[in-house]
Amino acid sequence: MNVVLLLIPIALLLGLAGLAAFLWALRSGQFEDLDGAAMRILEEDEI
């Protein structure tokens, strides 16, 4: 019982963290140019 009380908030927090990360990524334009991101990895001279 005590374990459950500890684990459920942890599970929820982890899930919320994932959701927050996704929403942040969405807002900061990470999904704006999916094809371009795949291409940019091939650029050589970027440090």
Binding site: M1, V4, I8, A11, L12, G15, L16, G18, L19, F22, L23, L26, S28, G29, E32, D33, L34, D35, G36, M39, R40, L42, E43, D45
Partner: protein, 708 residues
């Protein structure tokens, strides 16, 4: 986005977006970004490869043509995008994606808790898990359910109903009842069902929205933009770039060869020829002299001219056609999408079913609580989860497949209308034909003549010269060494080769119907090269394929009767010639009045009203802006076959959508009696819902190769 962060107060910054349709490789990204950043005044350039655009932030002193020429020097054709059209066009998709992410997160967590309840949690633990579920579910329903609540409210207010009404009632009723169950310590809470329903439905909505965005991006990337502005000579002799919107009568525009006019006007200085094909469908360029009237959207072909603006913006001849187009498009907005047509029958059926379940159980002596629970279960089970996914899933798979085949379909409704078309009307110039002259008898020249012709032709922007250059380049001809090259507008090109005068110019004495150029080398007899606006590859096969699909084709053209008759007899189809944009529109209205569903295929501005009025319309990528904007689908490449492919794919999609409906209804036939009998637990509801959705999506995936 990053560029905005760099903005400091020291300097005025302007943002310009350019469409660069020709970027295709990883190297292009680096090349464009580095190349543009090296232009003085440019602060930052960021490529968006998906939408084939580059966003440039630069000092206000940098003029847009400089950016375009810089890109041309880098090897990319670019067009500035009108800022008014691009502001946050993906906002709707993003909002739906946010709602979907929240619903997905909530559905997973509630499911986790629900699984424990289903596997036998009782007493305090079950109540606690229900409370946790309620804490997650209620805010989620409030947030993620908004798109449905809003849409349902907007139709209910007008006394109508759509798919969103049973969804809204179902979700709200189920959430409320589950909350009641939780408070009173009951056994069943349907929070997982309510949230999962929202998640699946939002997935369908989001797919639909993404599909529209992607096609719209594709089309904007293609738009060749009737000049978004012009170089204006100020009274003090200085020149300044003025956007099309700010042009005013009386201004003097400098129009370089190869530029499109941004406004109507009178030629003041210079002689040139103008390509009017966009306005009239006529492929022969017209010679203009000082005093000639020229219209916005036409292309200056051979030499720079100065034009005094007489009408700009909404007063131009183009804007008139645009107005007819707008009126013509009104008729099309009456089309009701297939999902909404299904909802017309489905929604009342669901409401009646749930209501009769409630009344039935009340009569049979069950308490109001049990009766409500059962009608809620009926709503959850019948909620058009699979129906909501059935249409968008099939359509986005088909649209993706068509896109890979080079056909951009603008939205799902276009795909539905395409499947219904039973008659095809085609424009001639630029649609059935390539819309550019191709030399026919170039083969009779010898190597020396070809290389002289190449040297002359490549230095002119005249469409005939360009056509010669393309054909000769394709043969691998190397240009001869010529000197003292002069281009005289309306007459031709003159130069010295081996001490002799060589020229490439107009062949005056040929009849008006055929286009021809005359090559002279010294005193040798002159050679006439004839041109022909060739039919698109596979034109005849496409007509045959369309006939096999049950679509009868006919030509409606603005060109001369003789030229149209030639094409019509070659393809063996009927034709009407010499039609004005209004006549074309009337022809379509007449067909519609007979109950025919017309597919209009056209390219020019003169086809615009007809494209907008057709039940559905297609345009080639070489079409005018207006044509591409009005069309439901745009195809790339020279061939005509995409027209038939699109219809075949659209019909396959309709078939799959209907199968999906049958699947969804079949599932209801099994599940609804269970729900009516009060045998549906939250576990069964969850299984049934996800099961039917997965089957429907799986069936839609069969369309992946629809465009082959």
């Amino acid at each position: 986005m990053n560029a905005e962060a760099q903005i400091t107060a020291t300097q005025a910054i302007a943002q310009t977006r350019l469409s660069v349709p020709s970027m295709r490789c990883a190297g292009c990204i680096t090349k464009i970004e580095k190349g543009l950043s090296a232009v003085p005044g440019v602060i930052d350039a960021r490529v968006n490869f998906t939408s084939k655009r580059v966003a440039v932030s630069h000092g206000v002193e940098v003029q847009i043509p400089l950016l375009v020429t810089s890109l041309r020097d880098l090897g990319f054709e670019a067009q500035p995008i009108d800022d008014g059209t691009v502001i946050d066009e993906h906002e709707e998709s993003r909002a739906l994606l946010r709602a979907m992410a929240v619903a997905g997160f909530a559905a997973m967590n509630i499911m986790l808790l629900s699984v424990s309840v289903w596997s036998g949690a009782t007493g305090v633990i079950r109540d606690m898990f229900h409370w946790f579920s309620a804490l997650i579910a209620l805010p989620t329903v409030l947030y993620s359910g908004r798109p449905f609540f809003r849409s349902a409210w907007s139709v209910v207010r007008h006394g109508r109903t759509n798919m969103d009404v049973p969804i809204t009632i179902g979700v709200v009723l189920v959430s409320g009842l589950s909350l009641y169950e939780t408070i009173t310590g009951g056994a069943h809470a349907y929070f997982d069902g309510a949230v999962m329903l929202l998640f699946f439905l939002l997935t369908g909505r989001w797919l639909d929205s993404v599909m529209r965005d992607r096609a719209r991006d594709g089309v904007t990337a293609l738009l060749r933009q009737s000049a978004p502005g012009a170089l204006v000579v100020k009274p003090d002799g200085q020149t300044e770039w003025v956007g099309a919107r700010d042009l005013a009568p009386g201004m003097r525009m400098l129009v370089a060869a190869g530029e499109r006019l941004a406004a109507d006007g009178l030629v003041e200085e210079g002689r040139s020829s103008f390509d009017l094909s966009l306005l009239t469908g006529e492929s022969q360029p017209e010679t203009v002299l000082p005093g000639s009237v020229v219209h916005a959207g036409t292309l200056n072909v051979s030499a720079p001219v100065t034009v005094r603006v007489t009408a700009a913006g909404a007063d131009t001849a183009i804007a008139d056609i645009a107005r007819i187009m707008e009126e013509a498009a009104q008729t099309r907005s009456h089309y009701v999408r297939i999902a909404d047509r299904a909802a017309r029958y489905y929604a009342p059926a669901v409401h009646t079913l749930a209501l009769s379940a409630f009344i039935g159980w009340m009569i049979m002596g069950a308490g109001w609580h049990q009766a409500l629970m059962i009608s809620a279960a009926v709503l959850i089970i019948t909620c058009p989860c699979a129906l909501g996914l059935a249409v968008p899933a099939a359509q986005i798979v088909a649209v993706g497949s068509l896109m890979r085949a080079g056909i951009l379909v603008k939205d799902g409704s276009a795909l539905e209308r395409l499947a219904e078309a039973d008659h095809v009307l085609l424009d001639k110039t630029g649609t059935l034909t390539l819309g550019r002259p191709e030399p026919v008898d170039i083969g009779m020249l010898d190597q020396r003549q070809k290389s002289v012709m190449m040297a002359l032709a490549r230095s002119s922007r005249h469409p005939l010269s360009q056509a010669l250059r393309r054909s000769l380049e394709a043969e691998g001809i190397v240009a001869a060494d010529i000197s003292e090259l002069v281009e005289t507008p309306g007459e031709g090109l003159f130069a010295k080769y081996d001490g002799e005068v060589v020229s490439l110019g107009r062949a005056d004495d040929t009849d008006a119907v055929t286009l021809a150029s005359r090559l002279r080398i010294g005193n040798e007899p002159a050679i006439d090269i004839h041109f022909h606006d060739a039919l698109r590859p596979q034109a005849a096969e496409t007509i045959a394929a369309l006939r096999k699909l049950g679509l009868e084709a006919a030509i409606i053209s603005g060109d001369r009767a003789a030229a149209v008759a030639e094409v019509a007899s070659e393809l063996g189809i009927g034709a009407r010639a010499g039609l004005s944009p209004k006549d074309k529109l009337d022809a379509i209205t007449q067909f519609s009045a007979e109950g025919r569903k017309v597919l209009m295929v056209g390219d020019g501005l003169n086809d615009g009203p007809a494209l907008a009025a057709g039940h559905v319309s297609m345009a080639p990528a070489s079409a005018s802006d207006a044509g591409q904007n009005a069309a439901d689908a745009v195809w790339m490449g020279d061939g005509l076959m995409p027209v038939a492919i699109a219809i075949r794919a659209a019909r396959a999609t309709l078939r799959v959508v209907k199968e999906n409906f049958v699947l969804a209804i079949g599932y209801n036939v099994i599940a609804v009696p269970l729900a009516l009998a009060g045998m549906v637990t939250p576990l069964i509801a969850a299984l049934a819902m996800s099961g039917s959705s997965i089957i429907v999506v799986g069936n839609a995936l069969r369309l992946r190769s629809a465009a082959r």
